[in-house]
């Protein structure tokens, strides 16, 4: 199918991009295009202007910023999975990103693009939520930083306002934490039916700290706080983890679709949470 006609801008800096965004009201930002291009072709989106960020070199790459690593919004999924800083300090994000679709998608798709799209079935938002990451948003009035918990507001809706741009993702260092992402998909290219992202700091057989977030158990990624509280300071045994994971679906509101009903999703949340935590504790 052929998209409706649109104007095209290809800025090379963030300032140019913001200027382009300021020109109109029906402007869409093109990152890796893995969600937007199909939407354009199906005419689910018909922007008047497309602002293509692929020439903004400053938005790619990962840097060390003391207590956190900072990932440029245009860093591809594939780069995220290979970047030493991510592997060292945010292993959960690397492991989660490895499960995104297939190599072609991971080479085109970007972290910032997937986060901004805010599809509840996308995998990386749960990892960022679990890692207490923050999103750095640039706008006409400068930059602001929004915690992941406040960033994802609703289905396909984030805290990015009109005229603003996600430029960076800040992830606090979780150096040495174990990590795992467990998810169920229909095919490799399909979205997760449910996913569980867990990162764990184990000390002498005891879970010192644990963070868990769930994919597709509601309109936005959800932290499994009850599970975290039940396990913190306790033993990293299979029985303890499974008992705690039984609370994974508490407070969630999963949707029903052709792949799953609420009951199945709730069940999967428990099973996958336990698996992710156990794998993270063992890694």
């Amino acid at each position: 199918m052929i998209p409706a006609a649109f104007d095209y801008e290809a800025p090379t800096t963030v300032d140019e991009a913001l200027a382009a965004l300021a020109k109109g009201s029906n402007v869409k930002v093109l990152a890796g295009g893995q969600s937007l291009l199909p939407m354009l072709r199906l005419r689910m989106a018909s922007p008047s202007t497309l602002v293509d960020l692929n020439k903004v070199a400053g938005l790619r790459g990962v840097r060390d910023d003391g207590d956190a690593i900072v990932i440029g919004a245009m860093t591809t999924h594939d780069d995220v999975t290979r970047e030493p800083l991510v592997l060292q300090h945010a292993l959960l994000l690397a492991k989660t990103t490895q499960t995104v679709a297939d190599p072609q998608v991971r080479h085109r798709g970007t972290l910032g693009g997937s986060v901004s799209h805010a599809d509840p079935a996308q995998d990386t938002p749960a990892a960022l939520l679990a890692l207490d990451a923050s999103m750095v948003i640039a706008g006409p009035n400068g930059r602001r930083t929004v915690p992941a918990a406040a960033f994802f507001k609703d289905l396909f809706t984030t805290d990015i306002n009109e005229g603003e741009l996600l430029v960076e993702v800040r992830v606090p260092k979780h150096t040495g934490w174990g990590a795992a992402y467990s998810n169920i998909t229909r095919t490799a290219q399909s979205w997760s039916i449910v996913g569980a992202a867990a990162t764990v700091q184990v000390s002498g057989g005891t879970i010192a700290q644990v963070k868990v977030a769930l994919t597709n158990m509601g309109l936005v990624p959800i932290r499994a706080k009850a599970v975290e509280q039940a396990l913190t300071g306790g033993p990293a045994t299979a029985d303890a983890v499974k008992a705690a994971a039984a609370q994974a679906a508490v407070g969630t509101s999963p949707m029903a679709d052709s792949n799953a009903d609420e009951a199945y999703r709730s069940h999967l949340a428990q099973v996958l949470t336990a698996r992710a935590i156990l794998a993270a504790a063992g890694s």
Binding site: L42, A121, I193, S258, N259, A260, Y264
Partner: protein, 833 residues
């Protein structure tokens, strides 16, 4: 993949795993796909498609579309001259078959969501697409009928009110009345009363599938003077020519149809389509070249679908494992219209439910049913996968009921090697086969006993990951087909195939085949055959096909027929070339024809070193300076082969599936298949056909499912919702072959295009059910998605979650994927605003 290079068998080329000579251009796209064709002044079409499944068209407002930039003209069904003519059904299976008129553009009423209601011609494809959205159509909704079991009830909503019924035809094959077996009802009744008797009854669902060929359909029509050149992404250029002549009233001699390189079909391009007719009608009216290329969404929505049956089966036997009687009653969903062979697809399964087993009584009945959905038609295997899946599931069920190994039950009941040729209870004569050999090889490759032991261990330890083993000992009938048989079945066409060989003066060889390749590798295989027969280099053979002006005689490619029918015609033509060349050689070598020998491309006089190469003879025959008296110049030859019987590939497929009982997720652990497709020309091409076939068959078991909501809207309208597997979703395949040459054709070949698809679906499903036996699971609706598997485990009973709108009421039916939650229920484009 197992390396199956058997090296040279019959000759230098026959049996050699040559890489395909056509692949470089196909893979790089530097070739002539229909959509690549650009002609001066060419216009582009967009279709406006019905958004309702059943309704009368109250009004169509095309004024805004007509004013849209770049638009040349917009037509409704009432305005496009010729669009009211019904498209053909070439297979009326009964004398009283009911069929609604099927106009290319709807004439006041639509019968499925996706039917074309208006047509836009514009200077660019983008302008046409923009304008199509400006066409405003008002419908008065009519009630829809979507479920076959509902459709056949008294007082059901009618898909076509004017027909007065939803039943198109009822067709029966009965062994008793046909004289090939006993009375099936009597045998079932007797076994019901017999304390040793076992009678099992099952209802199986064959879900609806989308052929999902890689290249969307595309047509270009170029009117020049009185002639029309039609390029189309079709499997059947010869059919398109004839039916375009009949439907549009154009003399056949004015039409040239070209199927250039075509990117897959799987039966989905065995069709004569409304879009082809519309493109022709517009070109004829405007006297301009016109192109129409469908989008992927349009392809999923409106290219014909496949499968879709409800099967009720009764199998009766005895506790010792003997299977005696088989009764098959199926409902087959035609959708809204009858396409080229829609009505005949279930009939192709009539001889296959009994499969390789020696039943003594058999009855098959299909009731063909109309619903307000996209019409169905041929899809890889067409009728035979549906039959094979049912019988292989039933045999497993029977074996479980009597507590015997399913492999042993099969062996007890199958036709023994020494019993061939064997006339089955359905009246079909299988010429050859060796089920014992194929099964023995597969069992060894699979480590059947080892995996059974592992299954026992996992069951005993209550492992969360259970193991199941699935068996499919399939056969199929292909090589369509003896023309007399097709005539007896009221099929409109014959089943022969034609080939011609042109010996050029420079010694190169042009081969013309009536089979129309669309990805199968004909150019390579045909070159190998001719290179061997004529002793010319492989590289010197050029294969021409898919153009009714170049290959005027042909019946195209479907039903695994190209090699077993078209390949035989080619060999016959080569033999004629050799006979003609011998006359020239004898004359020039001053010898008797009887003393001329031919080997490796050279004609020699027996007992001497005098000889002439075939290339030299080709030149001499065309120079014609020194030919035998009365001989026409040239040694070209043509041949047509009409087979005397179908061919019957068979094989044993074994599948081990791990089922994660905590999540319902399945994983194919091991897949072994040993196919017997007779003599093989190119093992590498065969391997490719088997791999692709397995992928599609496995996809039916695990992934694919075309679903509609209660209003008849296709909810799997894009490849996000209609899940097809990619390479990473599929296992390693261990493939091998046995060779029992067909005796029904001189090459001993059987056909391989459909084998993998037919065999693999029940192997996978049987494995999953086998894994879940300890949970009381006896059956599972396809596709076996994680949620259905998990539900089945929870319920300890067959799951009917999702996949069929007749089971609305539980969690999954009628929902669309989150990606459509923008407020759009489905992704089809070109629809009315």
């Amino acid at each position: 993949m197992t390396a199956v290079d058997e090296g040279v068998t019959a000759g230098r080329e026959f049996g050699k795993s040559r890489r395909r000579k056509e692949d470089a251009r196909l893979i790089t796209g530097r070739t002539r796909w229909t959509d690549n064709i650009q002609l001066p002044g060419m216009l582009h079409l967009a279709m406006v498609r019905s958004t309702v499944a059943h309704g009368t068209i109250a009004s169509i407002d095309t004024s805004a579309a007509k004013g849209s930039p770049g638009v040349i003209r917009v037509w409704t069904g009432a305005e496009l001259k010729g669009s009211e003519v019904g498209l053909p059904n070439a297979w009326p299976i009964t004398a009283d078959q009911k069929a609604p008129s099927h106009p290319a553009v709807a004439q006041g009423r639509v019968s499925f969501a996706g039917e074309i209601v208006a047509v836009v011609a514009a200077r660019t494809a983008a302008a046409a697409a923009d304008a199509a959205r400006e066409v405003i159509v008002d419908y008065d909704d009519l009630p829809v009928v979507l479920d076959m079991e509902e459709a056949v009830k008294d007082g059901a909503v009618l898909a076509h009110p004017d027909l007065g019924t939803n039943i198109s035809a009822v067709w029966t094959l009965d062994s008793h009345s046909g004289g090939t077996g006993n009375d099936v009802d009597a045998e079932i009744a007797a076994l019901r009363a017999d304390p040793n008797g076992v009678v099992i009854e099952r209802r199986f669902r064959q879900q609806r599938l989308v052929p999902a060929f890689m290249e969307p359909r595309s047509t270009v029509v170029d009117p020049t003077g009185e002639q029309f050149v039609i390029w189309s992404a079709t499997q059947v250029p010869h059919f398109v020519r004839i039916f375009m002549a009949l439907v549009t009233g154009t003399p056949e001699s004015k039409l040239r149809v070209i199927a250039p390189d075509v990117g897959g079909g799987f039966g989905g391009k065995l069709q004569f389509t409304p879009e082809e007719v519309i493109t022709f009608l517009v070109a004829r009216e405007l006297r301009k070249p016109v192109k129409y290329t469908e989008s992927r969404s349009e392809s999923i929505l409106s290219a014909h679908h496949g499968r879709d049956q409800v099967q009720r089966l009764t199998l009766a036997g005895t506790k010792d494992g003997k299977m005696t009687a088989l009764k098959v009653d199926i409902l087959s969903d035609m959708g809204a219209y009858l396409g080229l062979v829609t009505s005949g697809v279930p009939v192709l399964g009539a001889w296959m439910f009994n499969s390789i087993y020696k039943f003594s009584s058999y009855r098959f009945t299909t009731t063909n049913v109309f619903t307000n959905k996209t019409w169905t038609d041929a899809y890889r295997g067409a009728g035979r996968p549906e039959a094979t899946c049912a019988i292989e599931r039933l045999v497993d069920t029977f074996a479980h009921e009597i507590g015997k190994d399913p492999l042993a039950v099969r062996e007890q009941n199958w036709i023994k090697h020494e019993e061939f040729p064997f006339t089955t209870v359905a009246g079909m004569t299988y010429d050859s086969g060796n089920y014992e050999a194929a099964t023995a090889k597969a069992v060894e490759m699979f480590d059947y006993q080892g995996l059974r032991s592992e299954q026992e261990r996992r069951r005993a330890s209550k492992d969360p990951v259970q193991l199941g083993i699935g068996i499919s000992t399939f056969t199929e009938m292909c090589g369509l087909a003896p023309s007399r048989v097709l005539g007896a079945l009221s099929y409109a066409a014959g089943g022969w195939e034609n080939a011609a060989i042109r010996m050029l003066p420079t010694g190169k060889v042009e081969v013309v085949t009536g089979a129309s390749a669309h990805g199968q590798g004909h150019e390579t295989a045909w070159s190998q055959i001719v290179a061997d027969k004529l002793g010319v280099p492989f590289e010197d053979v050029e294969v021409l096909h898919g153009d009714t002006q170049i290959s005027p005689r042909g019946l195209d490619t479907y039903g695994s027929r190209s090699l077993s029918v078209g390949g035989v015609a080619l060999v016959m033509a080569a033999d004629k070339v050799i006979e003609k060349a011998k006359l020239v050689a004898a004359h020039q070598l001053e010898a008797s024809v009887n003393d001329i020998e031919f080997a490796d491309g050279t004609f020699t006089v027996r007992g001497t070193d005098k000889g002439l190469a075939i290339q030299a003879i080709a030149f001499a025959s065309l120079a014609a300076h020194n030919l035998p008296d009365g001989m026409e110049p040239g040694i070209d030859a043509e041949a047509t082969f009409d087979p005397v019987n179908f061919s019957f590939p068979h094989g044993t497929h074994l599948c081990a599936v791990e089922v994660d009982t905590e999540t319902g997720q399945t994983k194919i652990r091991k897949y072994v298949c040993v196919d017997d497709i007779g003599t093989v020309v190119n093992p590498l091409i065969v391997e490719g056909q088997v791999h692709g076939g397995l992928a599609q068959g496995i996809a039916q078991a695990l992934y694919e499912d075309a679903r509609h909501d209660e209003s008849g809207t296709l909810t799997t309208g894009s490849l996000v919702e209609y899940t097809i597997p990619s390479a990473v979703d599929l296992p390693h395949f261990d493939t091998d072959r046995t060779v029992s040459p067909a005796t029904s054709n001189p090459m001993g070949v059987k056909g391989v295009g459909e084998a993998g698809t037919i065999a693999s679906t029940p192997a996978v499903l049987n494995a999953i059910v086998d894994a879940l036996r300890p949970f009381g699971v006896d059956d599972l609706d396809m596709p076996a998605t994680p949620v259905k598997v998990w539900r089945a485990i929870q319920n300890g009973a067959p799951s009917h979650a999702g996949g069929d709108h007749s089971h609305v009421g539980d969690h999954s039916a009628g929902q669309v994927h989150t990606h459509d939650d923008h407020g759009h229920t489905h992704g089809h484009d070109g629809g009315a605003a």
